[in-house]
């Protein structure tokens, strides 16, 4: 059985199926925009009732875009695209590469655009003039001798017939990229406090630990706000990468929209969390000695070499998240009364003691929230996207235009019959104008005005 006669093949190759799939995809996609996705089962029971929730779980509605039936629809869509291409491309390819000088003269007489006129003179001379006129109008012509006289042919953008197949293929390329990403890649997240390291991130959704293969350190996190004090202006983390004990990336700042990529894994600034603790730097101005600490809230800390005990004994919290605005410090160097004072977060306070003067710098410890993605398919997807845009442009705005000029000797009347005809794969109205202008340039030429 020929593949073209097979019923199954025919239906998979049909545009009817394409229309059906597109509309089913469009309508079913709505479900997931109305019913919140990827929530825990309790959410659906609470909002929709036990029975409906059960029904939802049965049809994978809570994660419908990854459900078996939605994936099947996408698969059907892909098969439709592939079969349709295999079915039609050979013919279209034939149209692109065919030798139009072989076209049957009978068919030329039936072209959608055509004009006939007569001229005196030798057929070969007229053919030369016709070639010149075609060239003048931007049509580079080839010529062949037919039994009845010379035939000229010229075409533009023959390859534009492939545009639509480029678009179809680009969709498959995008799907391939998506499959590559979802099978070989991962989406994960990690909350990393300042000064801490991790070699593991946690998969989004499941929370499964995934090894990075290297160590990531958060050196610093900063959030800055606009003058209104409420709108965040920038979240910035300084990240370092360590491999085999060696620092391979040193304090690279990342912000939203400017991630860090290392060995195929990309770290995106996503959120932050204030921690219960402070980064403290104490400097003895007399001895010029300095020490850095990361201390918990409400605990006495000792700096033995400096002879100092200190701690944060109270804090003033600004937001529900726990951002500290001000903190209360207890500070004692063994002489006289301890110093107790309030200071701003992220500031330096000078402490004057009987024996020495100290600088006390404190800032709340933050954890940076990173989204971590490994997606080896992303460049495939982008390549598909670019191909799609080029393909759409070609498919929509370029047309395969063909012009024939066929000159035949009419012995009885001692003159030549000249047939100018043409066809365009699309945008017939524009081609009509172009064709008329071309014919005009022929009929206005003195060589063709002597009949």
């Amino acid at each position: 059985m020929k593949k073209t006669d097979n019923m199954v093949w025919r239906s998979f190759a049909s545009v009817r199926l394409a229309l059906f799939t597109l509309l089913i995809l469009a309508t079913t996609s709505i479900i997931g925009t109305l019913i919140p996705q990827k929530n825990p089962p309790e959410f659906y029971i609470e909002n929709f009732g036990q029975r409906t929730a059960q029904f939802f779980q049965m049809l994978d509605v809570p994660d419908m875009y990854n459900s078996w039936w939605f994936i099947s629809l996408l698969l059907l869509f892909s098969i439709n695209l592939i079969v349709c291409t295999i079915d039609r491309l050979p013919n279209v390819w034939q149209m692109v590469v065919m030798n139009n000088l072989d076209t049957d003269p009978e068919r030329l007489e039936k072209m959608p655009h055509r004009q006939v006129f007569h001229a005196r003179g030798d057929a070969a001379t007229l053919a030369d003039t016709a070639a010149t006129l075609l060239a003048k109008n931007g049509w580079k012509a080839q010529m062949a001798s037919k039994p009845a006289g010379p035939l000229l042919f010229s075409q533009k953008n023959a390859w534009s017939r492939l545009g639509v197949y480029a678009v179809h293929f680009s969709i498959l390329v995008i799907f391939a990229g998506a499959i590559l990403g979802s099978t070989l890649g991962f989406k994960a997240g990690v909350m990393l406090p300042e000064g801490r390291v991790t070699d593991t991130v946690y998969e989004t959704g499941t929370g499964n630990p995934l090894p990075l293969g290297f160590t990531l350190r958060c050196d610093n996190f900063n959030v800055s706000f606009y003058a209104d004090g409420a709108t965040p202006k920038e979240f910035r983390s300084d990240l370092s990468v360590l491999e085999n004990g060696k620092v391979t990336i040193d304090k690279r700042p990342i912000i939203v929209n400017d991630p860090l990529s290392y060995k195929g894994i990309t770290f995106y600034q996503s959120s932050y969390e204030p921690m219960q603790g402070f980064n403290v730097v104490i400097t003895n101005k007399a001895t010029k000695t300095s020490q850095t600490f990361q201390i918990p809230f409400g605990q006495k800390i000792s700096w033995k070499e400096g002879g100092i005990d200190f701690g944060v004994i109270n804090q003033e919290v600004r937001s529900r998240m726990g951002d500290v605005n001000r903190l209360k410090v207890w500070f004692f160097d063994g002489q006289g009364e301890p110093s107790i004072f309030w200071m701003d977060n992220n500031a330096t306070q000078t402490i004057s003691r009987p024996a020495a003067t100290y600088e006390f710098e404190a800032s709340q410890v933050y954890a940076t929230g990173l989204q971590v993605a490994k997606d080896p398919g992303v460049w495939t997807v982008y390549a598909g996207c670019i191909l799609m845009l080029i393909g759409l442009y070609v498919a929509f705005f370029l047309s395969h235009r063909r012009i024939w000029v066929y000159i035949t000797r009419e012995e009885a009347a001692d003159r030549c019959r000249i047939l100018v005809c043409g066809a365009s794969s699309k945008n017939k109205i524009a081609f009509e104008k172009e064709f008329t202008a071309l014919v005009d340039s022929f009929t206005h030429d003195s060589t063709f005005q002597n009949a």
Binding site: A18, L19, L22, V256, D258, L389
Partner: protein
């Protein structure tokens, strides 16, 4: 003169322009034609100046961003895109009646931007996720597409009106409308143009999402709705290219597609929740 004043004037200028085109159509007042075009060009220039001034003002406010980042600014740009798309169409088809079915969309967009109490018009600093050049590319490509779809919808309505009436007694009012064949051609060309830009809009959005969140596609309601819209227009184009649909059916699909556009743009922001929630501020 500040940008809100200029954009306020723009609203009324588009109203005036739309009314002139409608008068031109209803009263067959051909003499109004050139005047209508001049008003539209003027309105478009004021709109452009308004956007430019707002851009400058954002720099003066120490924030500095392209005014394309919230509901208000996108509506203003939508009106701008409709106006320039329509002017191009008028120039190409040398027919001013088309304005009666296009410019009302530009006016409605500006009017909604100016008078809606649900979102603010002030220049607000951009949250970190919006600080990206992809924002500009994404908004421009999307709204050029949306503008084309708005005009296609207007042309679809025009087709349906003309077609309904010519079935009965020939109405001289409708005689001033282009022939059905011509309207059909305009609808098709407009849809094709819009589809290319919508595709570019979805793609730039995906690239941006990937640079901000590490996922180019997350089935967020906005993304999903843009894809639904894309499916609707893709189906429309296939129905026409390969099954020879035309006339009323394509006219209806142009209207249906635009309803999907409106839902993608407006409905998702206000009726559903998702990553694009800031669009509603």
């Amino acid at each position: 003169m500040n940008s809100s004043q200029l954009l306020g004037i723009t609203t009324f200028a588009y109203l005036f322009s739309a009314m002139l085109y409608i008068a031109l159509f209803v009263f067959r007042a051909k003499k109004l034609g050139l005047f209508a075009t001049l008003i539209t060009v003027a309105a478009f220039l004021i709109n452009t100046a308004g956007i430019g001034l707002r851009w400058q003002e954002s720099y003066q406010a120490g924030i500095g961003y392209a005014p394309l980042s919230n509901m208000y600014e996108s509506l203003v740009f939508f009106a701008w895109a409709i106006a320039i798309f329509y002017l191009g169409l008028e120039w190409k088809y040398k027919n001013r009646v088309l304005g009666a079915f296009s410019m009302p969309f530009a006016f409605l967009s500006m009017a909604y931007a100016s008078f809606s109490p649900t979102f603010g018009k002030e220049i607000k600093p951009l949250i970190p996720a919006l600080q990206s050049n992809w924002l500009i590319a994404h908004v421009i490509t999307c709204f050029v597409g949306y503008a084309a779809f708005a005009v296609a919808c207007g042309m679809g309505i025009m087709y349906l009106i003309k077609d309904r009436k010519t079935n009965g007694a020939a109405d001289s009012l409708l005689a001033s409308l282009p022939e059905l064949k011509v309207i059909d051609d305009i609808i098709h060309k407009t849809l094709v143009f819009g589809f290319l830009w919508l595709s570019a809009g979805i793609i730039t959005g995906a690239v941006w999402a990937n640079s901000a969140w590490g996922t180019y596609w997350s089935w967020d309601p906005k993304e999903t709705w843009s894809l639904i819209t894309w499916f609707v227009y893709a189906a429309t184009l296939h129905a026409r290219f390969t099954r020879g649909w035309g006339g009323r059916r394509i006219a209806w699909l142009a209207v249906l597609g635009f309803i999907s556009v409106i839902f993608t743009y407006y409905g998702v922001n206000f009726l559903l929740s998702g990553l694009h929630s800031y669009g509603g501020n």
